[in-house]
Amino acid sequence: MEKIVTFVEQILHSHIFLLTLTVGLYYAAQLLHRRFSYMIFNPIIVSSLLIIIFLRTMNIEYAEYFEANAIINFLLSLSVVPLSYLMHKNMNRIKEHKVSILISTFVGSIVGVLSIVVLARLCGFEEAISLSLQPKSVTTPIALSVSASIGGIPPITALAVVIAGIFGNVAGAWIMKVCRITDPVARGLALGSASHAVGTARALEMGAIEGAIGGAAIGLMGLFTAIVLPVIGAVI
């Protein structure tokens, strides 16, 4: 009996099991989402929650899970590169709007940072928390390096980036419907600027133009926020 328990434990802690858990549960969550397309059945939220519950119940450390899923994190960084293919394919559309895209994204980067500064003061957060939340709309690798350089706490930034991404992914389409934002370029730009690659993944589902513009917005937002943040920090 004890042998069987040890054996099962070994399997549960193996890399191949923990990796299959991610892909398998995500796939299942996607099926569920197709069946009942409510916002709360967002596949990222459902699969992550199930995985968290599973790891807690089985007493598996997050570090162990993370190590087993290292390949997925590598692919996460890598998946930014193919966005250029979308931009290239929709270049005519982007060129038509290049000035307005640059202006809107630049304004977006300032609004993203200033709104956090104001909200954090209203809530009475410490300065370090506010600084950690400011780069939230930027893709994870940029957000983490920016956060560390302005005096934020990187794990809190990582959390804020995930929340901003998932919120845009789940509620972005609804917010834009309420505000009557119907233009495909504006929709893609809004999702990519506010919710980086997670928002862009949703934009991709709306259409190729939305996705391509979202991809461009990730790069621009990263660049602008990295420039704007230290300036705002110095002024305020």
Binding site: S48, Y62, L78, A158, A160, I175, T182, S195
Partner: protein, 117 residues
């Protein structure tokens, strides 16, 4: 030799060059973003053929959301950092994200209608 293999080799190679550039400039921009810019330039100048990377890119882009799962599961460790304030912090992030969506979306929509360009 399959086209997919060529596509994977190109994307990895571009990412590698982006990573090298990123280290050379002291990590100011991550290698993935520099790789994205580089591949974009290579596609625009016809150095890389669209056909070669099309299959791999479409596959990666259409399954991108899966890749966010491990980071999201990370909430289970990081939430303790903000334990007392987690509701307020989440609301701040959510509100600010909504503001950015509305401002960027409306501004872009208004500007493209005004200028038609």
């Amino acid at each position: 030799m399959s086209r997919e293999l060529k596509g994977i080799a190109i994307i990895l190679g571009v990412y590698l060059v982006g990573e090298i550039l990123s280290r050379l400039i002291g990590g100011f921009m991550p290698g993935s973003i520099l790789g994205m810019i580089l591949l974009f330039v290579l596609l625009q100048y016809g150095v890389v053929a669209e056909e070669d990377i099309k299959g791999v890119c479409n596959f990666m882009l259409s399954n991108m959301m899966l890749l966010f799962v491990p980071v999201t599961v990370g909430i289970m460790v990081n939430y303790t950092l903000i334990a007392e304030d987690w509701i307020a912090i989440s609301l701040c992030v959510v509100a600010s994200t909504a503001i950015v969506i509305i401002i960027v979306g409306l501004l872009q929509q208004t500007l493209s209608r005004l200028w038609k360009k």
